[in-house]
């Protein structure tokens, strides 16, 4: 079975054969699909087209990675990724179609337009049958983004501003408050420490559904409804962050702060000069989680604010959606992309902290 050894030329050869076969069969089956008239033929040919695509993907992967087993793994992963990402791809494509057009069928999803010359006359080019036809070019409608961002009826930029202010304030406030508490739980001995920590954990798991009404009443009595306070103050501490940071602080060797204590450093100095600088990654993790939690929070801004000027992006987007109902999908998808894009960028920048946080959170 020497032929099956890893990275052997044999694997690459099989990959190449599959790639060529797949690419060769693809137009054949596609042609069959376009010519098919009976339902069962259509289904058969579509299945064959998908099969040919998978075969060529597998061939390419096996050829490049030099292993048939690897080729299978990659093909599975690519298929799953395509399946999971498809809604996003569709979303972006639809957002680039001209505003107000109905949703185009798959074959016309990529926004196209007839190219015109300076006199607004369509440019003619020879078509496949030799007759002159209109020249069609790909034309993404970026002006949709411009329109949504400077929407005539909705203060989209104000939504952005509100969201940024609230999110930054909560992240900074919460990191300070929770790191102090985490330091106490990790390093200081005081009466009732274990009980208090259990209270924190318990509230993290269960308090959610019952506190919304009393907290609303509290905020109303404080006169904070429809202000930034209502969106910031309830978020400046979170049991989850306390838990996460405590986990990290406990992993720092206590010898470090013992030495500092010997030198006469106070607790706050140890916290700010030793523990915090050593926990940048964990702070970033907690910060990243809070960032996404607050940025995408829908429920609290929905209840605590009521004027359009005080809404955040998330609620603003739902207002936007309701004002268009089931119409104008290009604009709706544009708005959705505008809300998602900053999240995606931040995620790509701090994803390692994310993965870390999910893992830290699970250690109990």
């Amino acid at each position: 079975m020497n032929l099956w050894r890893k990275n052997h030329w044999f694997h690459r050869a099989i990959g190449l054969v599959c790639l060529v076969a797949g690419l060769g069969l693809l137009p054949l089956f596609f042609d069959g699909y376009q010519k098919a008239t009976v339902d069962s033929d259509i289904r058969l040919n579509i299945a064959l087209v998908i099969g040919a695509v998978l075969l060529s993907v597998f061939g390419l992967c096996a050829l490049l990675s030099g292993g048939i087993k690897k080729g299978f793994s990659y093909t599975t992963l690519i298929s799953i990724a395509a399946f999971l990402m498809a809604p996003f791809v569709w979303m972006v494509l639809i957002s680039l179609n001209p505003s107000k057009t109905p949703i185009p069928p798959i074959s016309e999803l990529i926004p196209r337009a007839v190219e015109k010359d300076a006199k607004n006359q369509p440019i003619m080019v020879p078509g496949p049958d030799g007759k002159p036809t209109e020249k069609v070019v790909i034309q993404p409608r970026w002006d949709n983004y411009d329109f949504v961002f400077n929407h005539p009826n909705l203060p989209v930029k104000r939504f952005f501003f509100n969201t940024v202010v609230v999110t930054l304030a909560v992240v900074i406030g919460q990191l300070f408050v929770t790191s102090l508490a985490a330091y106490a739980f990790a390093r200081l001995k005081f009466k009732g420490r274990e009980l208090l920590f259990m209270l924190f954990l318990g509230s993290m798991m269960f308090a959610g559904p019952v506190t919304q009404i009393p907290v609303y009443l509290l905020i109303r009595n404080l006169g904070w409804l429809d202000t930034y306070w209502a969106l910031i103050i309830p978020g400046v501490s979170s049991a989850f962050s306390v838990f996460l940071l405590r986990q990290q602080f406990m992993s720092i060797s206590p010898e470090l702060d013992e030495a500092a204590r010997m030198d006469g450093a106070g607790e706050f100095r140890i916290y700010s000069r030793i523990i915090l600088p050593l926990s940048k990654a964990a702070l970033a993790t907690a910060g990243a989680f809070t960032f996404f939690g607050v940025w995408t929070d829908f429920f609290n801004p929905l209840i605590y604010t009521n004027s359009t000027e005080m809404r955040t992006l998330e609620v603003g987007l739902s207002i936007f959606k309701n004002s268009y109902g089931g119409t104008n999908w290009p604009l709706q998808m544009t708005a959705a992309v505008i809300v998602m894009l900053p999240l995606l960028v931040v995620f790509l920048f701090c994803q390692r902290f994310f993965v870390r946080g999910v893992m830290l959170g699970s250690i109990k």
Partner: protein, 286 residues
Amino acid sequence: MGWLFVGPATIHLAVFALIPMLYALVLSLYKFQLFRENPEFTGLRNYSLALTEEPFLNSLWHSFRFAIMSVPLGMALALGIALLVNQKLRGMAIFRTLFYIPAISSGVAISMLWIYVFLPDTGMINMATSLFGISSVDFLNRTEWAMLALVFMSMWVGLGPRMVLFLAGLVNIPTSLYEAAEIDGASNWRQFWNVTLPMLVPTTFFVLVTSTIGAMQIFTPVYMMTKGGPEESTDVVGYHIYNEAWVNFNTGLASAKSFILLAIIVVISIFQFRLMRSQIREFSAS
């Protein structure tokens, strides 16, 4: 000294979690409507009202059905994908990132996207199935489909964190166990059943409990996509309580209902904890 450090967080916990919880308990004993301030003490009447009210019981049942479909399916999917991305292959980080992306997106934007995906005729799914000659289904407006549509979407959204958790569990399994199984001549399949799965019990428990708690409280997609319809078939308890509290303004009754939900969540969590503990004991005994 310790209390000084823990002070701000504790005050916050008291003001925004513990006292509100107690206050909600008090509210649940009153007949009280927001903006109509004369609460009337009625004892446990709100609870008896809630527990005999058909729409509320139905909404509990809907949430339960949603959880029982979305949690096991979502976990199985996440475990399968975690096993796939746990291989040592080049470029795996890209796939992990891609699989996580649905989870970081905004709930409202995702809901809008999925309304489109589920649209009749022009929606993504119906366009794909129409290629096979399957006739169009209006998923979000058919009683037998709407809940399944929400389940499907929640599996997609929940995949990332669950996958990462399972991945952490997989990475932590000592390779010596697999080496020992290899020497005993165990097949890949047997290694999966006799090494991987038992070693993943704590992770599975954690994912199960957090997913169930989340699933029992699902709100945004229902609010955005179905408004509890069609014919109340997706009126889950989170949405039901939202309506009671913020549309009908039956504050007292809504508080009672949210305590009933809380009790159910706690009971389910304890039950799952027991189940997992017996599972661990069984494994360590054998």
